[in-house]
Amino acid sequence: MKNLDRPARKFLPLSEATYLILASLTEPRHGYGIMQDVEAVSDGRVRLGPGTLYGALTNLLKQKLIRRSGETGTGGERRKVYALTPLGEKVLVLEGERLASLSRLAADVARRLGGAK
């Protein structure tokens, strides 16, 4: 398999909205599903407006981090389904590692500041 490490790093760091959208696509979802999932996992803190989501999906498709994966529903209620590409998965993992190392630092900083009181 191709090494995706180098091409994936070009996309870092991700905006919060982009990270949450990619994280939500660890299983295939349609746009509305992404909105609901992102709101749920962020405890209602992040709500994606349709303009923001449409722009993000268009970009992610262009960057080949996600792909279309069929449709759900019938008739007027048809919705396109999106899924991560291998490159998208790699970006998500690398960004996760970056955030995890920041979060370790944040815990450390909180401890030090707490201790200095």
Binding site: G31, M35, S42, V46, R47, P50, Y54, G55
Partner: protein, 186 residues
């Protein structure tokens, strides 16, 4: 007024850098009992209705080359009603519930990205007009016969070019304002 509904037609230009102001104006109409029923090329049609608290948003939507069903689907799913369009500007509205003002763009980055698209289009038009004008001017220098015919076209082209140049500058100012503004929560 008995029975029949009063309507009014309003002539109003839309300026690309004023989309937020336009939305606020439409919301103001709705609050004062004028419900938007149609978006027309050069204005709007309103109908008398009970005053309501509604958010109006304009979006510079996808071009004709894109599949718009996905675009409109997302807005519909998020509870926005599509009212109409002027060119590529799409008009949406959504009721304000419990004072919570809904937004179609929830971070500054995505809003800025869309204004950049608009600037790209404006710059494109400038380039096309500019090269046309340059060609015309060059041709004018060569043959005497055409000189008298060109002033009107030249003036029109220069006028259009200044409009596009002006809107580019205004849009750049909107972007810099958005960049300076505090990031909205989510």
């Amino acid at each position: 007024m008995s029975g029949e509904k009063a309507t009014k037609k309003v002539f109003r230009m839309l300026m690309a850098w004023n989309d937020e102001k336009e939305g606020r104006w439409l919301a103001e109409q709705e609050r004062s009992g004028w419900h938007l029923t149609a978006v027309r090329c050069f204005g709007y049609t309103f109908e008398r209705a009970a005053p309501a608290d509604v958010a109006y948003r304009l979006d510079f939507g996808p071009s004709r080359f894109h599949d718009k069903s996905e675009y409109f689907g997302l807005f519909h799913d998020a509870g926005w009603e599509h009212v109409g369009c002027r060119g590529l500007w799409q008009y949406f509205r959504k009721a304000i519930v419990n004072g919570q003002i809904p937004e179609i763009y929830t971070d500054a980055q995505s809003r800025i990205a869309n204004y950049r698209r608009l600037i790209g289009l404006s710059v494109c038009m400038l380039a096309v007009l500019g090269s046309q004008t340059a060609t015309n001017l060059a041709r004018e220098g060569q043959s005497n016969s055409s000189i008298s015919r060109y002033p009107a076209i030249l003036i029109l082209q220069l006028a259009l070019m200044s409009i596009f140049a002006y809107s580019t500058v205004r849009l750049l100012l909107v972007i810099s304002r958005l960049k300076r503004a505090k990031p909205t929560d989510a």
